[in-house]
Symmetry: C2
Subunit: 271 residues, 2 copies
């Protein structure tokens, strides 16, 4: 399907766009099923927060309408929205009134091996550490060189994802996933106040767990805590939940809470 | 003058470009005088280092030829080169053989008030702190949201630049400049091993100072050391050298070493 730029079919972008010049923008990646973008409200809430924090004067209702129209036309697949600050002149100073530029890109459904979800995955131990930047932490912004460097660290297919630590050695996230661990029946996920992307599926899983009266905790997580976890899994809004069976010398069984939350995520994504 | 993309006149970019998707690339901004890009070798050396560190397989000799041709055609002004990793598919994994995409953009000469160079400038105290990321420190890469946030902190024309600290409170750089201070005849500039852009004019000034047997030092600099400086100035490869006369409650006279190095920079830029 054709891309859209500001609501119109297009295959190219202005060379003055600040998304290109500075990574000055945000993105969201939606699973689309039966013409519907899944977890739309959560994606739009994160986008809106990013617009506030980066001071991009975007019209979220207009973006919602475009996403719904585009998803209806594509039917099934993965829909990526890039929202940049739009064209700039020379220099970093942003125009506080700029409404942003909307780029929609449709892709076929992701084709991950079924074994990732069934048997679980091995995580590559990335040496690229995430920098502490509270002003950008949580946002899905376009400054993603750390993820590019981390993903370039392995080429084998044995590792489906990589685990990223921060510079103090805390466990933060995967390259394109969030991470959870289970210990003594408590579901724990890293605090993302210093770095990391606050994933939409992460938020949904926390919400679902609370609905099921499963105790949850958002906290700093050390590698030692990871070692003592009963279950570990990763998630994102496209593939749902993958159990983690190994990271470096550590390994875990696929546990019952992982399976329960995986089933819930799958139901959402197969809607 | 028209932009060039990969050597051809163009006004737009592929929507699949990883420069847009992830800020996955580098840039350089050249002053052009009499059809020549100034400090070309230093710019290309930094670009080449960036290509090695980001693993972009760019042809630096081809880029040199394109820059020379473009500068010759534009005559006078500011020439920006953006080198992205080129088109990508979905996902962060980079293609290690990708030769990169070259975008050249010509702009008229910068029109800064003459007073900036003559009387010196006041620096805005930016509250946006630079994150520590040794893997990217020194590079002029496309992940520039910290600079966008910092530059958005002031709108008045009283402040020509802003000063950025790192998260430990060390003095690092301006938003679009490097900073030097002079103390007891020694020229000191911040160590950029944790964050910051290793500016081409910074490198040239260090080289020129050493040629003049002026002692130089690359070191961590605290705000207290800034307070006790005899002279302070900022620099970049477009405007040369601006004396700094004030930052928050601090002020400095425009000193003789600043003037000497400013004259040298001006001679380069007026070549």
């Amino acid at each position: 399907m054709d891309c859209w730029v500001d609501g119109q079919p297009a295959d190219s972008l202005s060379l003055k766009d600040r998304g290109l010049a500075y990574g000055d923008g945000l993105f969201e990646t939606f699973a689309v099923r039966n013409g519907q973008p899944i977890l739309l409200d959560r994606h739009l809430a994160r986008l809106a927060e990013g617009c506030v924090r980066l001071a991009i004067a975007a019209d979220i209702q207009l973006i919602r309408q475009e996403l719904l129209s585009y998803a209806a036309a594509m039917g099934e697949g993965v829909l990526k929205l890039i929202l940049t600050r739009g064209d700039g002149l020379r220099g970093y100073a942003p125009d506080p009134a700029a409404p942003g530029r909307r780029v929609l890109q449709g892709n076929p459904p992701s084709a991950y091996p079924a074994a990732h979800a069934e048997q679980g995955v091995r995580l590559f131990p990335c040496s690229t550490r995430l920098a502490k930047q509270p002003l950008l932490a949580g946002l899905k912004h376009l400054n993603r060189l750390e993820q590019v460097l981390a993903r370039a660290e392995w080429q084998d297919s044995e590792h489906a994802e990589g685990l990223m630590l921060d510079q103090a050695g805390r466990v933060v996230e995967g390259v394109f996933s969030n991470i959870f661990l289970v210990r003594d029946g408590v579901l724990i996920t890293p605090d993302l106040k210093r770095c990391g992307v606050a994933g939409v599926m992460r938020a949904e899983i926390l919400f679902q767990a609370e609905s099921l009266a499963i105790p949850t905790q958002i906290a700093d997580i050390s590698l030692e805590q990871l070692q003592w976890a009963d279950e570990v899994f990763i998630c994102n809004s496209v593939y749902g939940v993958w159990p983690v069976r190994a990271y470096a010398a550590l390994s875990w069984p696929v546990g019952p809470l992982t399976r329960k939350l995986q089933t819930i995520a799958r139901a959402l994504l197969d809607a």
